[in-house]
């Protein structure tokens, strides 16, 4: 029998240089890993690895600095945009981004994110919205959907007593300092590609000095939602996107000129 000739191995998929070769602490099925990878791929593709400073927040992504292979600091809860401001103002030619969850950004850190956007702070924000406080075990967040069960809304979020969720992207898009604010989702390959494109755009906005940029990423939390990873993605697609529409909320005229 003739031995078939073997093609030399061709690498079609590998770990981004900006992504360290370590296991993450994220739960199976959690989309933090996807979001991390997208950021790492974009940083690599733009050749920014050695001029980027990340700001980790408090929440499940508190240890993000263990996974990215570039400089990082870790912020108090909600204060990442303030820390990023401090860094960017003394090192204006570095690329500075925060990576924040919804409890961090849309609850305890509303003042910091709002004023960073209002100042047109030339930073990029990656905003993970999974509708609950994941790190502390699934409590109600400012983004928890009406009727959604959490450990502090056992019968489902009752808007009469617990108020309504905050759509942070829409809120921040009203500010003149915001240059680029969009919401994407990580529930399927098509949307993941769209998310990556948005992240790329956000960093391009910063590189051009056009002002505040933020990409909100609808994300899954199988552990705290009590769903399988697959059902979690379905929940994102059906329930989350219904309340948090995927859209471009702010693309100012200068940003609209950017072609990537």
């Amino acid at each position: 029998m003739a031995i078939p000739s073997i093609e030399l191995e061709q690498v079609v998929y590998e770990r981004p240089e900006s992504f360290r070769d370590v296991s993450t602490h994220y739960c199976p099925g959690c989309t933090h890993g996807v979001a991390h990878r997208l950021v790492a791929e974009v940083i690599d593709e733009m050749g920014l690895r050695e001029r980027t400073i990340g700001v980790a927040s408090v929440g499940c992504s508190v240890f993000a600095y263990n996974y990215f292979d570039f400089d990082f600091v870790q912020s108090p809860h909600g204060r990442a945009p303030a820390m990023a401001t401090g860094i960017k103002r003394v090192l204006p030619n570095r690329v500075v981004f925060t990576y924040q969850g919804d409890g961090d950004l849309a609850s305890i850190g509303t003042a910091e994110i709002t004023h960073a956007a209002a100042r047109g702070e030339n930073i990029t924000v990656i905003f993970i919205n999974n509708a609950n406080y994941g790190m502390t075990g699934g409590q109600m967040a400012p983004t928890t959907l009406p009727g959604m069960k959490t450990t502090t809304s056992l019968n489902g979020r009752d808007v009469e007593t617990q108020g309504y969720p905050i759509r942070a992207s829409e809120l921040l898009a009203t500010l003149d300092g915001s240059a680029y604010i969009v919401r994407r989702s990580l529930h399927d390959p098509k949307n993941i590609r769209l998310a990556k494109k948005a992240i790329r755009m956000a960093f391009e906005v910063q590189l051009r000095g056009l002002g505040f940029s933020m990409v909100e990423l609808l994300s899954s939390c199988p552990t705290n939602w009590g769903l399988t990873p697959e059902d979690s993605l379905q929940f994102v697609e059906e329930k989350m996107t219904a309340f948090f529409p995927l859209n471009d909320f702010k693309v100012n005229s200068a940003v609209a000129q950017i072609k990537i």
Binding site: E50, R51, T52, I53, V55, A56, V62, F63, Y65, F68, D69, F70, D71, F72, V73, Q74, S75, P76, R79, A82, M83, A84, T85, G86, I87, R89, V90, L91, R94, V95, V96, A111, E112, T114, H115, R119
Partner: protein, 370 residues
């Protein structure tokens, strides 16, 4: 350089600029606001970073970020604003990045008032934020000393990767005095090996204050404690007045130390052998010198603009072996030299005791006189 008339708050701001301040972040609060106002034009003029933050929380965390890059950074506030900053202060201490904080104390608690006070001694010196940490705390008593100690604060903060506080008050911040500014120092070009600067050609760096492994976190605590021992060994500063032949000693820091000096001079004119010890570093506290003094004097009087906060550190330093009396004014009221002179008379005339608590006797006298 010639002596010029400087307002306390503005003098600190300019002294910081001349010490190579690279970034300032602040928020308005009386009686500190002139610092913010001065730097709002002075920093941009020199192409250095200035941001008026959305709150003291924002300001301290901007400082935190900028401090992580190794830059010389500062913020300033007054009592209620400092309370808001304590979260960030603890993180900065836990991350071991240097920063300078100016606290222009005012009357409290609560919103209180905008008059001078020293009631935040415990908050600043003995923590305030969570966890074991020790800021270096410098207490000026004049505009000139405010300038000199601001320069020193930056050097000490960097030397010990620590927080250095210039602890002043509404009167020192608002008063104008002739003072001499130092020469302008160049902005630093060499950054420490821990600085997160996003530079090419080296391994990644990160700065964090979290460590979920208690044993590892304890190592951070041990390192901070050992470093504090070094500060205690090397950085104690104080000023002595008329102590050579003194049988009685008055102790006060900042404004109350300065007011007490007038009273001590008046008492000397009456022939009373009294001197003054004014701690310049209230942290590290001049414990050893006070303990030694305690062996040679017949009594001590502690004067503060609070209910006896430094008093406890004096009592600890003397191990309660020497009679101590206390005189304080609170809530924004400053003691008058005559009041302190009366308290000196009270100490000299006796009875003097090491029994009971000086604060209790002071409060009893207050009740009797009112």
């Amino acid at each position: 350089m010639a002596r010029e008339l400087w307002k306390g708050n503005e003098a600190i701001a300019e002294a910081a600029v001349r010490a190579g301040l690279q970034a300032y972040f602040g928020y308005p609060i009386t009686p500190q606001t002139e610092l913010l106002e001065y730097l709002s034009w002075r920093m941009p003029e020199l192409k250095r970073a200035f941001v008026q933050a959305e709150s003291e929380l924002g300001a301290i965390n901007m400082v935190y970020g900028a401090a992580c890059t190794g830059a010389r950074v500062m913020t300033s506030s007054s009592s209620p604003g400092i309370s808001l900053m304590l979260e960030g202060i603890s993180y900065i201490a836990g991350t071991e990045v240097p920063m300078v904080l100016v606290d222009v104390m005012r009357g409290g608690p609560g919103l209180g008032n905008i008059a001078p006070a020293q009631a935040d001694y415990n908050q600043i010196v003995h923590g305030g934020g969570h966890g074991d940490y020790h800021p270096i705390v410098l207490a000026p008593s004049s505009v000139q000393e405010s300038i000199d100690l601001t320069s020193l604060a930056f050097d000490l903060a960097e030397k010990y990767r620590s927080i250095a506080v210039v602890l002043t008050d509404g009167s020192l911040g608002q008063m104008m005095e002739p003072a001499e500014m130092p020469e302008m120092m160049p902005v630093k070009q060499v950054y420490p090996e821990w600085a997160v600067t996003g530079e090419p050609g080296r391994d990644r760096r990160f700065l964090t204050s979290i460590n979920l492994n208690p044993v590892e976190q304890e190592k951070t605590n041990i390192r901070l404690s050992l470093r504090w021992q070094q500060v205690q060994a090397n950085e104690v500063r104080f000023k002595e007045y008329y102590l050579d032949d003194a049988k009685f000693v008055v102790l006060g820091f900042g404004s109350s130390g300065r007011i007490a000096l007038s009273a001590v001079r008046a008492a000397r004119a009456e022939g009373i052998p009294v001197g003054l010890l004014r701690p310049i570093t209230v942290n590290p506290f001049p414990t050893a010198v006070i303990e030694e003094l305690g062996k040679h004097v017949d009594g001590m009087l502690v004067v503060e603009m609070n209910a006896g906060q430094m008093l406890e550190d004096v009592r600890l330093s003397t191990r309660n072996r020497v009679p101590i009396e206390f005189y304080g004014r609170m809530g924004g009221v400053m003691p008058l030299p005559d009041e302190v002179l009366s308290a000196i008379h009270g100490l000299v005339d006796g009875p003097r005791t090491t029994e009971g608590h000086p604060r209790d006797r002071w409060l009893a006298r207050l009740a009797k006189n009112n």
